[in-house]
């Protein structure tokens, strides 16, 4: 199964792009990563982003070879897909709990695999 190493430039493996607002990644990012890792889909995390979480998630989705982008701030978690309108993400959750962040990561990976999503509590 593929593992989520921090992908590097020129890395050919298609990945989900996870972007965190602010210099240090929010604690929530880790839970998202757990969800993705458990599903066996590759990903990469980048920090230091600034701006609207939905827009950033969409850009990430546009750039991701798997067409999935996730944006995490301290208070918001957005999962987006390249083919969706920029203002219409798949998930947009305010103040998600750790468990929810885990499920959202899981669902981001399932979107990439095309398998049924889990209900997010």
């Amino acid at each position: 199964m593929s593992r989520g190493d921090a992908g590097s430039d020129g890395d050919d493996v298609p990945r989900i792009y996870v972007r965190s607002l602010g210099e240090t990644a929010s604690a929530l990012v880790e839970y998202v990563e757990h969800g993705i890792e458990e599903e066996g889909v590759p990903w990469v995390v980048e920090s230091g982003f600034d701006g609207d979480c939905v827009a950033i998630a969409h850009e990430a989705a546009v750039e991701s070879p798997l067409k999935i982008g996730v944006c995490v701030s301290d208070t918001r978690l957005v999962v987006h897909h390249k083919q969706l309108a920029a203002d219409a993400p798949v998930f947009d959750v305010t103040d998600p709990a750790a468990a929810s962040a885990r499920y959202l990561g899981s669902n981001a990976a399932r979107l990439a695999k095309g398998t049924p999503l889990r209900p997010v509590e």
Partner: protein
């Protein structure tokens, strides 16, 4: 110029065929219409539906329904059908002996055997010579679990596998230094006995392989060093794990997996000759149907009180009593159809929410009386429209007449009327005499089978699954059909449908299927349900009405009824009958209506003696109305 309307009141729909006769005597069908049947078929409540249908037909030629000179009503088949299901097996796991829920993301690979130990246990209490299978409850973080496994491993302990409550198997596996099989998503981990011999197996990922040791009784015997008698007892465990990608088996003192038969009572089948045969429902469909055919023609059927089937049989009697006003115990069940099926049920004693497909018997039953009180309906229509209303003919006979307007048909001919509650057949021989029968088992039974086998628990969705092909939404702009064809779409699908299996409905809408099934699975279940009901009943019906008891003698078979609109059923039946050399196909009434409007058309043809639509002379009994309306002063 005169207008005549044929009106066919069915269980679900009321159809109209409108004929105009010119002054020079030329007949022409000028309109057809449909409205849903209001109320139970055969009751006065049908009147509004009839009036609506007549109005729609009349509108098409710019007249009022009251301008219709004569309304010909069918004598509707005095038949009500109903369906029910009885589950006849259940699986019970005692002492949490087995875990077979097959989670989607297990970790590691291989077969590991050891003693079940809590992950928080103290190393000091355990002998390094004893292999260990760790149990990881949800209170333990995966990183901690991984650290502990590494600790035990570094200290020379033989960690052979792990069973995890949360969905953490891959996370743990990625952080440990040993290659061990890990099973996760075990919701009731606390029910697993500690300190017992335990085996965990995970098949290699991305290979299409399934486990092969724990699904083999001798494999389980090997890991637990079982005696021959003990091996005999774990057959159901091994069997239940066939096809799994991961599994756990625990050896407990009295642990067991039992597939029990649920007592489901008997069916009492009374033959026309008066003898009664008792058939236990849990013997399955084949035994039940054999008893039915041995007791043909069936005079009545009674079920076990308190059972689903028993309740349904009473319900069917009850409905008929309501329609006809007859006492309930004078109403007889004239046919039943049993089909073996499967239904997902929760496994008792499971620790991970396992479900198994249990055996069930689906039963359709049909009550029949002498005649439905159509006269009251006729009176009601007359009262509304002021038109003469005549009960022109028996439904089956009129259906034959209407079907004969299908191009390419000729007498002798059999028709299969496939509806919701019953499958009816009629046969017209070279002398134009018609014989007909009604059998239980039709569209509603197909829907019920689909509902239960897919675990939908929603008849509405099951109806839709029956009627529409499924597909997988692969991307927001493309779908993959059941046969693998990939279609690109102009508009994106709704994001909620992404990755879902959907039904391709007629209006272009995509309806999501609420259960986790692939299009291929849905197709398989759907076709099997249709085949088990309609192909079986087509053969049953034709065999019963063929004079010579050889289906081959029927050169033409025509299918009518709304279930013959189905996108798969007619061809399944034609295919099954093809070996007999029979021309079998969906009707095309008047060369343009498809399988619709046969009875309504037949009623009109009966009245006009066939006109130019039939190429033979109608015998008197088919061209004379069943009763004349009394004059309005009656």
């Amino acid at each position: 110029m005169a207008y005549i309307a044929g009106v066919d009141i069915g269980n679900s729909s009321t159809e109209v065929a409108l004929l105009r006769t010119s002054d020079d005597g030329t007949h022409e069908f000028v309109a057809s219409a449909l409205y849903r049947t209001t109320g139970l078929k055969g009751t006065k409540k049908n009147v509004p539906g009839v009036v609506n249908a007549l109005t729609r037909a009349a509108e098409q030629v710019g007249i009022d329904p009251g301008d219709i000179d004569r309304v010909l009503l069918n004598e509707a088949a005095p038949v009500i059908g109903d369906v029910a299901m009885e589950t006849i097996t259940e699986t019970v796991i005692t002492e949490s002996t087995m875990i077979g829920h097959d989670p989607s993301t297990p970790g590691g690979v291989g077969l590991g055997t050891g003693t079940s130990v809590e992950i928080t246990a103290d190393m000091a209490d355990h002998d390094p010579a004893d292999p260990v299978i760790f149990l990881v409850p949800d209170s333990v973080d995966f990183a901690d679990a991984a650290a502990r496994i590494n600790e035990w491993h570094e200290n020379g302990y033989d960690v052979e596998g792990a069973i995890v409550q949360r969905d953490d198997a891959v996370l743990i596996h990625n952080r440990i230094d040993v290659e061990i099989p890990i099973l996760d998503e075990v919701s009731d981990l606390d029910k697993i006995p500690r300190g017992q011999p335990t085996a965990v197996e995970v098949a290699p990922q991305a290979t299409g392989k399934t486990i092969d040791e724990l699904s083999n009784p001798y494999g389980i015997a090997t890991v637990f060093d079982l005696s021959a008698e003990e091996t005999q007892k774990i057959i159901p465990v091994a069997r239940a794990l066939v096809g799994n990608k991961s599994a756990v088996v625990i050896k407990t003192p009295r642990g067991d997996v039992e597939e029990r038969t649920i007592p489901a009572g008997n069916l009492h089948i009374v033959s026309g000759r008066g003898s009664t045969t008792e058939v236990p429902v849990d013997q399955g469909a084949e035994v039940i149907m054999e008893a039915v055919m041995n007791n043909w023609p069936v005079s009545d059927v009674r079920g076990e009180s308190g059972s689903n089937i028993g309740g349904m049989l009473n319900r069917a009697r009850d409905s008929m009593a309501e329609v006809t006003g007859q006492p309930m115990d004078s109403i007889e069940i004239r046919d039943i159809m049993a089909v073996d099926t499967l239904i997902p049920q929760a496994v008792q004693g499971s620790v991970a929410g396992e479900h198994s497909m249990e055996s069930a018997v689906a039963l359709a039953a049909m009550v029949k009386t002498q005649q439905l009180p159509m006269r009251q309906i006729a009176d009601g229509i007359e009262a509304e429209l002021g038109t003469t209303v005549v009960i022109q003919g028996v439904e089956a006979n009129m259906a034959v007449l209407g079907s004969l307007t299908t191009p390419g048909t000729d007498v002798p001919i059999a028709i299969l009327d496939m509806g919701g509650g019953s499958t009816d057949a009629a046969y017209m021989d070279v002398d134009k005499e018609i014989d007909s029968i009604h059998l239980s088992g039709a569209g509603d039974m197909v829907t019920m089978l689909i509902d239960s086998e897919l675990g939908l628990d929603d008849r509405d969705v099951a109806e839709a699954v029956k009627k529409y092909p499924s597909a997988k939404v692969q991307t927001l702009f493309s779908i993959r059909e059941e046969d693998g064809t990939v279609d690109f779409l102009d508009e994106p699908v709704d994001p909620s449908l992404f990755g879902r299996t959907v039904l391709l409905e007629d209006d272009g809408e995509m309806r999501p299927v609420p259960v986790r099934k692939s299009p291929e699975e849905i197709r398989r279940v759907r076709r099997r349900a249709k085949r088990n009901v309609f192909v079986t009943n087509a053969e049953r019906a034709l065999n019963l009405i063929t004079p010579t008891e050889s289906i081959r003698q029927i050169p033409f078979v025509v299918m009518v009824g709304r279930s013959s609109l189905d996108f798969e059923i007619p061809e399944m039946i034609s295919d099954a009958l093809a070996e007999y050399g029979i021309v079998c196909g969906r009707a095309n009434v008047r060369g343009e209506m498809g399988p619709r409007n046969a009875v309504a058309t037949g009623l009109v043809l009966s009245h006009i003696g066939g006109g130019q639509y039939l190429d033979f002379e109608l015998p008197a009994e088919l061209s004379t109305s069943l009763e004349r309306t009394p004059t309005k002063t009656d």
